[in-house]
Amino acid sequence: MPLISLRDVTKSYPPSQRGGAVVHAVEGLNLDIEAGDIYGIIGYSGAGKSTLVRLINALENATSGSILVDGDEVTRMKEGELRRLRLGIGMIFQQFNLFNSKTVAGNVAYPLEVAKTPRADIALRVAELLDFVGLADKARNYPEQLSGGQKQRVGIARALATSPRILLADEATSALDPETTHEVLELLKRVNTEFGVTIVVITHEMDVIQTLATKVAVMDGGRIVEQGDVFDVFSKPKERRHSASCRPSCRVFPPRPNSSRCGSGIRGAS
C-alpha cells in the first residue's frame, strides 16, 4: 500500500471578487507515493504544486476526494488528530520560515516541545540533528546570522526533529544559488537513504528532479499530466512536442502559448 495516496482530490478557492470564477487549484488529482520514494512534482507557477503538498499535511482542507497518509484518511481528521499527523510529516519551505525569536537550537527544539518530549531528550536530539546537518557550532546563533543554505539546513533539522516518515519540500532550494542548492539536495538525499524518509519535492527546476528524485509527476492546471520514474518520463515523454533546440528535459512540459522557455526546466517561474 502506498504511504501517501490521493484519489480524485479537488481543492477549490472561492472567487476573489464577486462575480469572479472559482479557482480549482487542484482538480480530480490522483497520486500514489510509495514509502522510501523521493517523489518530484514539477510544473509551472500556478499549477497547484504548493496546494497539493499542503493538502498532504492538511494545512489546506480538500474540497473533495480522499487523501490517505499511512492508511489514515486525512480529510476526516479533527484538529487533535491533525496535530498528531503533522508530527509525522516534516515540511521545509522556500523562504525557510525559521522562528526569528529563537536560536538555531530553539528552532529545532520547537517541534519536540510540541510533541511533549522530555527536556533532556530534547537537548540530545537537537545536538544530534544539528550534527547531522553540519551546524553543531551554530546552535546558539539566531537565524539572521546564517546564510541561506545554513537557514535551510536548520529548516531541515527542524522538520526532522520528531523523526517523521515523510518530508514535504516546497521549493526548498529556489532561494539558493546553484552551489548551495547542490549541498541541500545532497543533504536531502542523505535524509532519504540514512533515515528512510519519504520525500515529496516540489520544484520548478528540472535539475532538482534530475539530481534528487526517483519518481516524478508533471503538474499543469491543477492536474497531473504525466508521471512515472524520472528516467522514463525524461527519456520517453508522452507528448512529443518539442523544438529542435530543446533538451529532452523540456519536452515533458505541456507547451504554453508564448512560452519558449527552455534550458534546465522552467527557472524564472516561481
Binding site: 499535511n57 494545512l59 484538529e79 491533525l82 496535530r83 498528531r84 499527523l85 503533522r86 508530527l87 510529516i89 516534516g90 515540511m91 519551505f93 523562504q95 520560515n97 525559521l98 522562528f99 526569528n100 525569536s101 529563537k102 520547537y110 517541534p111 516541545e113 510540541v114 510533541a115 539566531y142 539572521e144 527542524r158 522538520a159 526533529a161 520528531t162 514535504l168
Partner: protein, 219 residues
C-alpha cells in the same frame, strides 16, 4: 522660584500619583488591549481562529470607542466606572476609565504589530503540529516582541498625556497639580515644573522602551 519651593512636596506627591495612575492603567489597559488585539488578529480571515462575525464585532467595537476624545469618554463612562469600581471620582475611577480607553487603542497597536509576523512562520509552526493556542502564546508574541515593546512604550507616553485630565473627576497627578497650583494661582513656574517632571518621565520611559526593544530585536 519662591512660589515653587513650598509646593515641592506636593509636586513629588503628584509625580507619584501620575506614575501610580499610569502604571496601573498600563497593567489593566495593556492586558485588555493585548487580549483584544490578539482577538482582532486571530479572527481575521486566514488567521488562526478566523471567524468573520467575531472579527466584525471586535472591529466595530474598537472603531467606535477608540476615537472618542478622552475627556469626553471620561465623563461618559463615569456611571460605568461607578458601577464597576464603586466610585465615579478620584484616582480609582480614572484608572478604570483610562484602562478601558487605552485597551481600545492598544488593541490596534497589538494587531498591527502581530501582522508584521510572516504568515510562513505561523505555517511552519502549524506544520510541526503546534496547536493554535500554543502558536499564539509561544510563537506569535515572541516573534513580534520588539515592535510590541515599542508600541507599548508609545502607549505609556499617551497614558501620561491622558492621565493629565484626572482632575476633572477629582483625581490627582501632575495635570491636577499644574492646573490647581500653577495655572489657577498664576504661577507659571509651578506649571513649568510639572511640565519638566513629565518630560523627564517620558524620556525615561522612552529610553527604557528603546533599550528593551533593542534587546528583543538583537540590534
Amino acid at each position: 522660584m519662591d512660589d515653587l519651593i513650598p509646593l515641592l512636596p506636593k509636586l513629588w506627591e503628584a509625580s507619584y500619583e501620575t506614575l501610580y495612575i499610569v502604571g496601573l492603567s498600563l497593567i489593566f489597559g495593556g492586558l485588555g488591549g493585548l487580549i483584544l488585539g490578539l482577538g482582532l488578529y486571530t479572527t481575521r480571515s486566514n488567521s488562526l481562529f478566523s471567524n468573520r462575525p467575531v472579527f466584525g464585532v471586535l472591529n466595530v467595537l474598537v472603531n467606535v470607542f477608540r476615537p472618542i476624545p478622552f475627556i469626553i469618554f471620561l465623563a461618559a463612562a463615569q456611571p460605568l466606572a461607578r458601577f464597576v469600581t464603586g466610585t465615579g471620582i478620584g484616582n480609582t475611577a480614572i484608572i478604570f476609565t483610562l484602562s478601558l480607553a487605552a485597551a481600545f487603542g492598544i488593541s490596534r497597536i497589538v494587531e498591527q504589530n502581530l501582522l508584521t509576523v510572516q504568515p510562513g512562520v505561523i505555517e511552519a509552526a502549524r506544520s510541526v503540529g503546534a496547536s493554535r493556542s500554543r502558536i499564539m502564546l509561544t510563537l506569535l508574541i515572541p516573534e513580534a516582541l520588539g515592535p510590541l515593546i515599542l508600541g507599548y512604550t508609545f502607549i505609556v507616553v499617551a497614558l501620561v498625556d491622558m492621565s493629565a485630565v484626572a482632575g476633572y473627576v477629582g483625581g490627582g497627578g501632575l495635570g491636577t497639580f499644574a492646573i490647581q497650583y500653577g495655572y489657577r494661582q498664576f504661577h507659571p513656574v509651578v506649571t513649568w515644573a510639572a511640565v519638566l517632571v513629565i518630560i523627564v518621565i517620558v524620556q525615561l520611559v522612552q529610553f527604557l522602551g528603546n533599550y528593551l526593544a533593542r534587546k528583543a530585536l538583537r540590534r
